[in-house]
Amino acid sequence: MTTDRGAVYDLGYEPYHGERRGRKGARLTIWADGNRRVLGLRRKARRKVMPWLLIAIALLPAIVSVGIAFIVPAGVSNEFNLADANASFFQLGGTIVMLFTALAAPELLIPDRRYGVLSMLSSRPLTSSDYLAARFASNITVVGGFLLIPQILLFIGQAGTDPDGLVQGIINSAPTIPRILAVTAIYITAFVPLGFMISSLVQRKSIAASVFLAVIIGLTAFAEAIVRNSVLPGGRWMALLAPINTADAANNWVFGSINNDSLLAAADIHPALGIAALVVIGSAAVMVSVWQYRRLM
């Protein structure tokens, strides 16, 4: 007796009849995966250490300050006055966020290339721009959250310790909200696109993080040397290349305090121009990342 070769076994596969959300859903998946990846969620414990350590370092001063402000009665000491603390908290957070970006941007982009998963992602309903936009959104989300959470704590502290009561305190503190959002955007613009660009070009996470920190610190040192020593004609414009100083100066400007020692002040450049420079540099960095991923995907 002869039988046909290749019998078909019922292995239990059922067609999918549910809804499909298209590109939007795919972008959302990439974004959510990015957030988890950076924060080490659903990953081994050792992958959680660095991000959560940095988050703890950023949060600790806010927790302590707000805690003390609640304990120490108002007017006892100005040291525990939270009213003008936003700018200084951003300045502290800004330095830590630089380290956080050095960790986050490589984690978002490099494993997909290292593990060769881009081909799998490319055969899904999303374009290279969708992928990059979703990863960029993840980066903004985690870095933004990193900057905003201490400020939210501070806001609660400011409102909660207001002598006029909590409700009036919220009303009194409300004008700081747009400023907080603006300064968050400034620090994001200063660091995230640059970290993203470097991570799109470098093949290893540790090297990308090192290059990012070297570029940021190197640019700052270079600009400091040129501007402070007036070694080049027109060299004062180099101050615009120092993202940390520019973001810090813009932070102080937004919150209404003037720092005459800042690099921008030394170069006689208005902080608004500094913000514009951050936007231009950030846009250029994003363009490089887009160009790179158009080639890769």
């Binding site: 076994y9 593990y115 992602l121």
Partner: protein, 312 residues
């Protein structure tokens, strides 16, 4: 009118005089063929251009010349097409630092498959349910292949493209996956399975597209292609206790072209391996020789298809 075996009556994938070159290197040259519902084997030696062709069909690589359509759409520009299409790439396209279950769920979410049980279902189908919570970094090659297949089929694709999906799998896993691909083909999905191993392709699909050096070398049913290979001389090593006697007897049969004898056996060159295979035991029995081995020496696909191309 008879249709060229390279084409099918109701194609879901059409490849029209497609060429692809990378600098000076021509990977695919003027290739035309089509694929329809059911399983088609894409056969060719390493470096033949199979992966390049599959990457072009999947929209991962642009064509240098010609045109490819999948379900009537351009895979390079129509992103929506990928809701109906899945690729299992040849390379290790899996994260090493997450579990198999997380990877399949991620894949399902990327293709917007929201049914919560679907990842579990496919993990079970590829027999990875027990290992699903282990990190992929610790998987064997065969397990990685199966998790890649699970990540592809979880999307319930109409078009499934598998580039060397059976590499590294053991015989049981292989049979399991082959049955799965056959099942997909029977359901009317378009399944392309590439391989450089003739036996694998023969088991997976009834229809084969064979390419060598980026050109179409053969197309049609496996039987028809085999039949067209009758002119290729095979060398078979027969181990026996009476090499000279058996050699002389076999030479008298029409299947043997030439025979070389050694102390423990003979090497027979033949153009009809099937007849030789049938005749040898009978002849050995007639002359009282004992056969302890019958091994084709040169059945590599590369040599077979190189012969096909160079013979034209």
């Amino acid at each position: 009118m008879t249709l060229d075996p390279a084409f099918v009556p109701d194609p879901t994938i059409e490849v029209v005089t497609v060429s692809k070159w990378f600098g000076q290197k021509v990977a695919v040259s003027g290739l035309s063929c089509s694929f329809g519902p059911g399983v088609t084997g894409l056969l060719g030696p390493n470096g033949a251009g199979k992966t390049t062709l599959l990457r072009m069909i999947s929209g991962l690589t642009s064509v240098s010349n010609g045109k490819i359509t999948v379900l009537g759409k351009n895979p390079r520009t129509d992103t929506g097409l990928f809701s109906s299409m899945a690729l299992v790439p040849d390379e290790d396209a899996v994260y090493g630092d997450i579990t198999g279950r997380q990877f399949v769920r991620y894949s399902a979410a990327l293709s917007n498959v929201e049914e919560r049980d679907k990842p579990e279902e496919v993990l079970s189908i590829v027999a990875m349910g027990d290992a699903a919570d282990r990190s992929i970094g610790g998987y064997s090659k065969g397990m990685r292949q199966r998790i890649k297949v699970a990540a592809a089929i979880v999307t319930d694709p109409d078009v499934l493209i598998l580039d060397e999906p059976l590499n590294g799998t053991d015989p049981i896993q292989r049979a399991h996956l082959i049955a799965l691909f056959e099942g997909f083909g029977e359901e009317g999905r378009t399944v392309i399975v590439s391989s450089h191993v003739l036996e694998e392709v023969e088991r997976v699909s009834k229809r084969v597209i064979a390419i060598v050096d980026g050109r179409l070398a053969a197309a049609g049913s496996v039987e028809a292609i085999r039949a067209s290979m009758h002119d290729i001389p095979y060398v078979v090593r027969i181990s026996t206790d009476a090499p000279r006697k058996l050699g002389a007897a076999l030479f008298a049969s029409s299947a043997a072209v030439s025979i070389t004898s050694t102390n423990d056996g003979i090497s027979v060159s033949t153009k009809d391996i099937t007849t030789l295979g049938k005749d040898t035991p009978r002849i050995a029995s007639d002359i009282g020789a004992r056969i302890t081995g019958f091994r084709p020496q040169d059945q590599s696909l590369e040599s077979v298809f190189r012969y096909l191309v160079e013979g034209r």
